[in-house]
């Protein structure tokens, strides 16, 4: 291990030395790509601190992946004079840089990073306010609760062991020390429970934290009363104990994956600035300042940020980002181009017709439904259970009060408070949060990342699964290629492959890869017409491959994607490109078919209809030519029918549907790829396990319910003592931690065991 790391960094060091003279070995980046960083206005938004001398800035570098990256980036001061220090934050993939203003500039730093292969990712998102720091208050709270709990336990021992008869002074010191130690727990550590229950009461809803906050308060009041009046030791150890355990459960459940983001919207995809042409001159401006009527200069491989009309150049736009379709589309001057497309060849100019926030793509996000967020999202069944629980506890307490009022009214106070202390639903909360936490952990180990614990329940409730086709069921990396037409000889195959390998069109590249032959055939005088095809002399035979119009000068009705071939001006046939389904898909669909209704919504044409019907069965709904908005509306219609919808998609074109659905799952080729906002991210390789994941989520609910039954059993024992007014601190001190611990063991054990049996 150590050797390999050292070895790697050695390599990096060599790389450093070679690179230093200033030879750029990477793909050449357009020279003025970072020119916008010279603009004062944009700079202010990006830098975190600045004085006369130094500037502090944080860049997001998605390429960071190994310890040599760390080495190289932290030694960057040797490459660029003026950089004072750099520090990498590995899990966030960020680098904090400090540099001297006199010696270098923001632009130069960015360019230097790019030259060594770490191009800073600067998006429109950076223009907004800085992300809030991670909230650590719960960690502080649990630290303090743990400290107080441990010490109170220790100092309660003498009382339990019966020291009190001879040394009353000492006993009182212990009691008062306990009271003092319980204060920070009451006032600080238990805060999350107070705020949560207060919020739910304001919404006239009883959630699980309400009875818990009540129990904490009552336990404290009763204990304080006993200690001050000298009548007893109180139940402070139980109180601090449950606070500690419940906080631990929360922290496990809310563990976040910092390297993933579930909140992305178009802001994180769009560039921060674009070039505007005014009076033949190029300016840089931030995106929100673009107005209709401006002329934008879009460079090669840049994103079109706003809807506009093409005014100059030939656009060859890759809309894969928006539609999921991997093949670029050709647009001529005068045609409308939509925001979100990526120009793939040469520079173009477009005249903006709509502002950035008004464009077709971004409007999808600015719909009112999404602004209210997930407020109407379903409420966990745990809260409903706890409501019944609370009613039962209240009625027991009232019954106890009434009974003792009649029989022996000195015992009213003792027994009623004891009921509240012992019957707090902390076991329910514990079992819930620990099971959730464990399930989340198991799923993430299998590269299925959920946004939060509520998602587990939503997955379990799913009744209808909707798939996107391109990029989800099919992969964009591979095509199934079939040939139709006159038979080609092996030699002709080679000729075609040779020609295709000279083209830059993705289809030709795929074809060349498919025909894959060792080539030493000369190709001369080839000419490529962007978006149409390529022609050239291959060993003196004129070969044309490309669209129907280009090859045979006729526009045949095309179903699906195909490349036509002609040799010596004679039409031979065509290569048909079919989508390649992910390997795991047929088996997965077969399993899902039995339990769920399925739909496929695709932005594509109907060429795949037959294949899909075969795959999904006759009952499934297949929809084609669906725009992003249609997808959203389809999900909405299903939900109106009472279905719980799980949407599985990949691209930005599914973003609306993913938001609208009850569970939006994004398929990512790599877990740190850019993904649209969603509830869950699944790695493409793990798709085959999806049924098992769903099963595990369903089991989650059963485990919680089972442990709830167990905790009720404990509660009945406790309440039996309590109603008689016999609950001694010792009984409470044994019963509460033992019930909590046994529930922890059961939830953790059963969920882990289940996962192991399912081979997850």
């Amino acid at each position: 291990m150590v050797f390999s790391i050292l070895n790697q960094s050695e390599l990096c060091e060599y790389y450093n030395l070679n690179e230093n003279p200033g030879i750029n070995q990477r793909v050449k980046i357009r020279e003025d790509k970072f020119a916008f960083l010279d603009e004062e206005k944009i700079q202010i938004q990006l830098i975190s601190f600045k004085d006369d001398n130094q500037i502090h800035v944080t860049f997001y570098l998605p390429q960071i992946h190994c310890s040599s990256c760390l080495y190289l980036l932290e030694n960057i001061h040797q490459l660029e004079e003026g950089i004072v220090s750099s520090r990498v934050h590995f899990t966030r993939k960020e680098v904090d840089l400090v540099f001297q203003r006199s010696k270098t500039s923001l632009r130069k730093v960015a360019e230097r990073l790019t030259s060594i292969g770490y191009e800073p990712y600067i998006s429109l998102n950076d223009l907004k306010e800085k992300r809030p720091a991670i909230d650590k208050s719960m960690i502080y709270q649990i630290g303090i609760a743990g400290f107080c709990f441990g010490n109170i336990m220790l100092m309660s021992f003498p009382e339990y062991l019966g020291i009190d008869t001879s040394e009353i002074g000492l006993r009182n010191i212990f009691r008062w020390a306990n009271l003092g130690l319980a204060m920070p727990v009451l006032l600080y550590s238990a805060l999350p429970f107070y705020t949560s229950s207060w919020k739910s009461l304001k919404h006239k809803f009883l959630n699980i934290d309400t009875p818990i906050a009540l129990a904490i308060l009552i336990t404290f009041i009763r204990s304080a009363y006993e200690i001050i009046s000298g009548t007893g030791g109180g139940y402070l150890d139980s109180m601090t104990g449950i606070v500690f355990f419940m906080l631990a459960g929360r922290i496990i459940q809310d563990k976040t994956y910092r390297q993933l983001s579930f909140e992305r919207d178009y802001n994180s995809y769009f560039p921060i600035a674009v070039s505007i042409l005014k009076n033949e001159k190029e300016f840089h401006t931030t995106l929100p300042e673009i107005k209709p009527g401006d002329t934008l200069l879009i460079h090669n491989s840049e994103l079109i940020p706003a809807d506009g009309i093409l005014t100059k150049g030939k656009a060859f736009i890759d809309y894969s980002f928006v539609t999921g379709e991997s093949l670029p589309v050709l647009k001529d001057v005068g045609e409308l181009v939509y925001a979100g497309g990526k120009q793939t060849e040469g520079n173009i100019e477009i005249l903006v017709v709509k502002e950035v926030t008004q464009s077709y793509l971004t409007k999808l996000w600015n719909r009112d439904e999404f602004k209210n967020g997930n407020q109407e999202k379903s409420i966990s069944f745990v809260h409903l259970l706890s409501r019944y629980f609370t009613y039962i506890v209240l009625s027991i307490a009232i019954a106890t009060a009434v009974y003792w009022q009649i029989n022996d009214n000195s015992k009213v106070w003792v027994s009623v408070t004891a009921v509240f202390i012992i019957a707090c639903p902390c076991a329910l909360l514990l079992s819930n949060s620990f099971t959730n936490g464990n399930i989340l952990r198991i799923l993430s180990r299998n590269h299925f990342f959920l946004r939060n614990a509520q998602t587990i329940e939503d997955i379990a409730k799913t009744t209808h699964i909707v798939f996107d086709k391109t990029g989800t069921l099919t992969t964009t990396q591979q095509h199934d290629i079939k040939y139709e037409g006159k038979t080609l000889t092996l030699y002709q195959h080679k000729q075609i492959a040779a020609l295709a390998s000279y083209s830059s069109h993705p289809l030709s590249k795929a074809l060349a890869k498919h025909l894959l032959t060792e080539n030493n055939i000369d190709v001369s005088g080839f000419k490529e017409t962007t978006g149409h095809g390529i022609e050239g002399f291959v060993n003196n035979d004129l070969i044309k491959i490309g669209s129907g119009e280009f090859v045979a000068s006729k526009s045949a009705p095309i179903i699906g994607t195909s490349i036509f071939v002609s040799i010596e001006n004679k039409y031979y046939g065509k290569f048909l490109f079919n989508n390649h389904y992910r390997d795991a898909i047929p088996a997965l669909i077969n399993k899902l078919k039995r339990e769920y209704s399925l739909s496929v919504i695709s932005g594509d044409n109907e060429s795949e209809k037959n294949n899909l019907t075969k795959l999904l069965g006759k009952k499934a709904t297949l929809l084609f030519h669906q725009k992003p908005e249609d997808k959203l509306l389809y999900i909405k219609r299903l939900q109106k029918k009472g279905e719980k919808v799980m949407m599985i998609g990949d691209g930005l074109n599914d973003a609306g549907a993913l938001q609208q659905s009850d569970v939006g799952v994004v398929v990512a080729e790599q877990s740190n790829n850019f993904t649209p906002a969603c509830d869950a991210i699944i790695e493409e390789k793990q798709l085959s396990k999806l049924t098992r994941f769903i099963y595990l989520c369903k089991a989650n609910n059963n485990i919680v319910k089972a442990s709830f039954v167990l905790s009720i059993a404990y509660n009945i024992v406790g309440v039996a003592f309590a109603v008689q007014g016999l609950l001694s601190p010792l009984v409470a001190a044994i019963l509460m931690p033992s019930s909590s611990l046994s529930i922890l063991l059961i939830t953790f054990g059963s969920s882990s065991l289940l996962a192991r049996r399912m081979k997850l």
């Binding site: 150590v2 450093n16 001061h77 630290g143 400290f147 100092m155």
Partner: protein, 53 residues
């Protein structure tokens, strides 16, 4: 009895030191990035042959 009080004070203050240590380590972000520090310590501070710092 007085010995026990001294012991009590001692034990609580030792525990308190650990608590403060814990809070400090959380605050200074030691639990946020568990990858870079262990790798960082393995890099040698070689004097660079190309350019002095």
């Amino acid at each position: 009895m007085s010995v026990i009080i001294i012991l009590l004070i001692a034990s609580i203050s030792v525990a308190a030191i650990f608590l403060v240590g814990f809070l400090w380590s959380v605050k200074s972000g030691q639990f946020e990035d568990d990858y870079s520090p262990p790798s960082r310590i393995l890099f040698d501070d070689k004097p660079s042959t190309t350019k002095s710092k």
